[in-house]
Symmetry: C2
Subunit: 229 residues, 2 copies
DNA sequence: GTCTATATAATGATAGAC
DNA sequence: GTCTATCATTATATAGAC
């Protein structure tokens, strides 16, 4: 499946919105209203007529993408946690990316959204962090994942890692079709699976001196106010 | 030090270029020639006169940033490897980021450059990957870092991780002054030090079944052609 | 709802005076 | 080298016909 919905059976307004999402994925958020109109095969004026302004169109696209990603991850992660987990790195993140990839352009749209920052980005990331924290907690309880001295911070770090590595991978290996999330994720996993799993299993360092030093500071100063620079 | 060079003692051409770097850091690469001219306190025409086109100016900025980052990391990493390493996560990456942060706007410029992709981005990342691979090899020889089944892939992954986490951190926590690399890095380290060191020391997982499974595929198919999806 | 035509602003780039 | 003035293009957005 390469598009969000079949082009028919949608209001023109929805068709323009979906066309805009695809154009934003292909050309970036700097794409013009004209480019969107051309892709939706309508006049530029009609785009503005439906969304009042370019910013309005953009906001609607963001909202749509967040809504789609929300319902998809809710479905995948189920009522409690994911039962089909096979010990992958970072359950909730992996499952969320997989889920986003299934609906074509969502994956790249999200990476652009997150990179740009702003409120929509924070909404998405915060939600994902919460999911990851939950899935980590149950994985810790199940004994498959080590506990952390700071579970919320680890969840944040895991999300930043996963999204960040994906963003760099996309920048270094531009996909032939940015709207084909499945193919993108497939290549991405191929390129990163070995080092990612290795890192998740054993870490990098042989000793604990670095961690001991960091934890000493962290215990005495949990607010992180007096960090190392 | 918050700027690249004292504003005096530079040719106008160099002043415009440095002003452009700062404007690109503050407003993104979509900043106009006029905005650059205003910041350099010259006319828009003069900018074009010196750099022929907007693309020419941008290319010169990229080249300048790459040159600066190159000479800085060469200096920091020294003839062989970094002797002042204190067991931080990813020697060469950490030292490179620290070095970039010292010259004000470089840090954020690099993150924008890498995110955008393209040739300059690949040049920078490839060079950094090579540095990391070298520093990892000697850390492995010294016994402080575990060996990897695929050192080049691990080096790539470590670079993607470090830059990626920084990019997400910047997007989620926009710095008050994007040209103050030192402050940005300080905050970044404060937010990520604990989970990053924890992860680098112990990884995430308690068992090796995931790694075993991945390595089984990797051994039989080193090209990565037949990856898991 | 949808279009064409247009107003208005901003952009990159040029020409020529000094 | 540097400026002012201007052109050509493109952008968003509006007005009004159908």
């Amino acid at each position: 499946m390469s598009s969000i919905q079949p082009a028919s059976d949608l209001t023109t307004r929805a068709r323009i919105r979906d066309a805009a999402i695809e154009v934003f994925v292909r050309e970036g958020f700097s794409a013009s209203v004209r480019a969107v109109a051309a892709h939706a095969v309508v006049s530029p004026g009609l785009v503005i007529h439906h969304f009042a302004s370019r910013a309005g169109l953009r906001a609607e696209c963001d909202a749509r993408v967040l809504e789609l990603s929300r319902s998809r991850t809710d479905h995948v992660l189920g009522t409690d946690q994911n039962p089909s987990s096979t010990g992958d790195v970072g359950d909730a993140v992996t499952e969320t990316l997989r889920s986003l990839a299934e609906s074509g352009p969502l994956l790249v749209y999200i990476t652009r959204l997150v990179t740009e920052g702003g409120e929509s980005a924070r909404t998405f990331v915060d939600h994902l962090v919460r999911d990851v924290e939950t899935s980590m907690m149950s994985a810790v309880a199940a004994g498959t994942v080590r506990p952390s001295v700071d579970e919320p911070a680890r969840a944040r770090y895991l999300v930043a890692m996963s999204l960040g590595v994906l963003i760099i991978d996309l920048a270094m290996n531009p996909p032939p079709d940015p709207t084909d999330g499945a193919a993108i994720l497939h290549e991405y996993v191929n390129r990163t699976m070995v080092p990612a799993t290795e890192y998740a299993t054993h870490g990098l360092l042989t000793g604990t001196s670095a961690l001991d030093a960091v934890l000493a500071v962290h215990q005495g100063d949990p607010s992180g106010e007096n960090g190392v620079d």
